[in-house]
Amino acid sequence: MLEASTIPRQDRSLHVLNRLAFGPRPGDLERVDSVGADRWVQQQLHPESIEIPQVFIDQIRTYSTLHMSPVDLFVEYQKPLMQARREAKQAGGDKADLKGATKDERLKERVVMREAVEARLYRAIFGPRQLQEVMTAFWFNHFNIFAGKGLDMVWTGAFEEQAIRPHTMGRFRDLLGATAHHPAMLFYLDNWQNTAPNSPGAKGKFDGINENYARELMELHTLGVNGGYSQQDVIALAHILTGWGLPPGRGGGGGGGGMRRAQTDQQMFPPGLMPRGFGFLFRRRQMAREGQMPARVDPSGFHFDASRHDPGPKYFLGQTIEGAGEHEGEEALDILARSPQTAKHLSFQLAQYFVADNPPPALVHRMSQRYLATDGDIRAVLELMFTSSEFWDPRYYAAKFKTPYEYVVSSVRATAVPVINFRPLYGTIQLLGMPLYGCQTPNGYDMTQEAWLNPDAMMTRLSFATALANGNLPLLNPPFEEEDGASGPSVVSKNGRYKGVNFGGANHVKMDPVDPAAVTSAMGGGLSPNTANAVETAPPQLRAALVLGSPEFMKR
């Protein structure tokens, strides 16, 4: 009986490649077959055991901004832009002059986002530690930030690299703590402004409680929307987190600056989003270089400002947290990470992503129990899921509709085309409504068929499949230079604010058409009779496109 309710042997390898990886590359099925699907799953659960080719390491190394600290990113990429703007404004002139004067700095800044986007795609397409890449995308979405919001333009890549990636299969508490301390999150959800009323540092922009981060921390990051907390708990958590923010400026994080300064800053960033203080920070570093004064700024970009913190006791989720400065926040994160509600919320999300849009409740329950028993060990929860009878239930085989990101990445993997120019790929993902780092709302993208299957998505996917299969995507074009105007990294918000992509097909380097037999073979056959018939009777130059555009390839 058990045998009958398990995915047939010949499909097991494809199943794990579709779920723990972004689909098979040619040869992957044979490789998984040879070690066995179960053992391959174990390898993926221990990414450190999977060797990374030197060429891959070298490529990742070229994305230098990924490895910079938030403070260095600010100093190297944001500060020059601010200075150029300020100088241009002081010199007078109209908006066009201002734009011209800051052109070089703006182009330079865009490199940061482009590197983040390309590194993400490069690793997802070519990286051998596939589960690691799947989990990085999963957790980034769980702890979503929006790159189009002010300073996060230079911090989003670092956020993924430093706060998400190292903890994808570790303890959830570490992951939660890393995101809570990262300036990209503190900025995105406004906690850098969260200030205890009447505290010594309350002044100007920092003039009161900001609940935004506290609310999302419970609703989205941990307990879940019906996680049994009240508005009083939100307020208490906001008080606990007062003073968690970015490095201070002159005046130690309080007022200073004044209206003129604030107005200037509003023009440099999407409105009002410029933390005061960073200018001073820059001057301090410069002074330190010149030997005048030691730099005392934490390069991580996190700073706890005691003068804006509420020192009193707080009553949070049924317990009293005594005033203890920064440590109160750690205590609250401990409570949240250990909550059964958090275990349930995370287990549901993982099971929905890896098993089915409506995941089986019994599986979610067992995963929650494992989470609680292991103090939030993500690897242990994943292992339980990947070895569960539900994961291997034929009802859930190929039951997940690929998201735009998964569709594009898996297409490129299946065709094994080389990629030098990533723009056509992130452009397509953007066109399909899922721009990388471009989700404005903190809840991230939905991962269900309902969210992504619609008439236009089908048209766009099939157009992409046809162009890819015919070698008509300029994937081999030499790396482009950043241009002014309509070019730049693809950080596109859903309501049309973006840094544009100029994606010229004019001089594109012709690629070879994709061999339909190779793609079919990479998928291990597995086409329905109808699809197989449609492919066989189609003109030869359309066959690979049909395979990539088939219902079977839309699913994982």
């Binding site: 809840n443 859903k494 994606f503 699809t531």
Partner: protein
């Protein structure tokens, strides 16, 4: 067997898969658009509702067109309180002159006057189809473009997690059957305001206009047709996508042919409005349309009767005026609202511009509008009346006039309205009589 045209595939190869996007807040970029389909074609976003909808052409056609001025237009220089001396005191170099002089306002009612670059709007004002709601805006105090636009499009000020836009929710609540071309959006991507369950046709603009998709070639189409023959969700989505694309492609091709035969018009906002007007006339299923126009963030050198703001207002006014004309009889069934995320500071700054403020002016235009009147409750410009002593105060929540339009023009009942604007404040009566009964 029809061979694939390599050159054509090469051309569409990239265009079909990546958007040609432009800086959305650049007026020049906007004006450069010649609209129609890019290679990406029609973007139909929907969640699930599309599957169950069928076309029904009975009943009167009511349409709503929303124009979003991204970047926060300076409403005090659009509908100028020229009867208030505080206005002139606060704006020594950028105040629009009193009536009569060079570059002075077009007087509306003795107290308010229209910016002279909007002279084309005098016609609709005089024939009683243009109204304004002054001191209108969001109750949320943010002065961030990002947040304020988000709130104005989600229709839920202060709540960031709302995933759909109010215009899409409104569409879903409208009585009668729905067609795939219910809502048209002109622009690079489907905007926040139209995100949601109901299918939205997105018409791209730019040089990629009318560039075909691979699927438009019969040989490609018929090959893919054979993949999606079932009654499963993927097949239904595929077939509906084909239908919508064929339909709008045909309409736009005809429009293009007509446009080419006609006199060449200067490229600009009016090109897009004219095209939209022809689409609306040709396709009676269109209920809702959305366009955005950027370039209103005037921190520097805003100008008064002439200058930067005037240069932006001129094509807007001309475009709206020609849109009204191009709609023909359909104008009687159409309401056009012009909104912007917030107003600007009352005082000009040291750079001859204005900074991010609060209250603003909303425009309401169309046959059903009882125009020739500035609605709302004018709070005045004395220091004590200003919001935080610097901005025009908001006395009318932006959702109130929109609710009037949705209820009285688009036929939404109170419970449906509550689904569009949850937690909207009680009506204050500031806009009673905005539409003709």
């Amino acid at each position: 067997m029809e061979p694939i045209d390599e050159k054509e595939l090469e051309e569409i190869g990239c265009g079909g898969c990546a958007p040609r996007v432009e800086q959305p807040l650049s007026r020049r970029a906007f004006l450069r658009r010649t609209a129609i389909l890019s290679a990406s074609g029609i973007v139909l976003l929907s969640r699930s509702a599309w599957a169950a909808r069928t076309l029904d052409s009975s009943g009167p056609r009511r349409r709503l067109v929303v124009v979003f001025l991204r970047g926060a237009v300076d409403g005090l220089n659009v509908v100028v309180p020229h009867g208030e001396s505080a206005y002139y005191d606060a704006r020594p170099t950028i105040a629009v002159g009193r009536t009569g002089g060079q570059g002075g306002v077009v007087d509306l009612d003795g107290y308010f006057g229209l910016h002279p670059a909007l002279a084309a709007m005098e016609g609709p004002w005089k024939d009683g189809t243009l109204a304004f709601v002054h001191a209108c805006g969001s109750p949320d105090p943010t002065r961030s473009h990002f947040d304020a636009q988000d709130y104005m499009e989600s229709g839920t000020p202060g709540i960031k997690s709302t995933q759909d836009g109010w215009l899409n929710r409104a569409l879903g609540q409208m009585p009668g059957a729905h067609a795939p071309t219910d809502a048209i959006s002109l622009g690079p991507t489907v905007p926040r305001i139209l995100e949601g369950r109901v299918a939205v046709a997105n018409i791209q603009s730019g040089r990629a206009a009318m560039r075909p998709m691979p699927l438009d070639r019969p040989v490609v189409e018929s090959a893919f047709d054979r993949l999606y023959i079932g009654s499963d969700p993927l097949s239904r989505a595929y077939r509906e996508g084909r239908e919508a694309r064929q339909r709008l492609t045909a309409e736009l091709a005809q429009d293009m042919a007509e446009a080419n035969n006609g006199a060449p018009s200067p490229q600009g906002f009016s090109d897009d409005t004219d095209r939209l007007a022809r689409l609306i006339q040709r396709d009676p299923t269109i209920r809702v349309a959305f366009m955005a126009l950027g370039g209103w963030d005037t921190h520097v050198s805003e100008g008064a009767g002439n200058g930067q703001l005037a240069g932006h207002l001129k094509p807007l006014g001309d475009g709206l005026s020609s849109f009204a004309k191009a709609l023909g009889p359909a104008y009687q069934e159409t309401v056009i609202v012009v909104i912007s995320e917030f107003g600007r500071t009352m005082h000009e700054n040291g750079n001859g511009g204005t900074d991010h403020g609060h209250g603003n002016v909303m425009w309401v235009m169309g046959g059903p509008v009882r125009g020739g009147k500035v609605y709302g409750r004018w709070p005045g410009l004395s220091t004590g009346s200003l919001y935080q002593e610097r901005d025009l105060a908001v006395t009318t929540d932006f959702r109130e006039p929109l609710s009037v339009v949705l209820r009285e023009h688009m036929g939404l009942q109170p419970p449906q309205l509550a689904a569009v604007f949850p937690d909207a404040p009680r009506t204050q009566g500031n806009v009673s009589g905005l539409l003709r009964a």
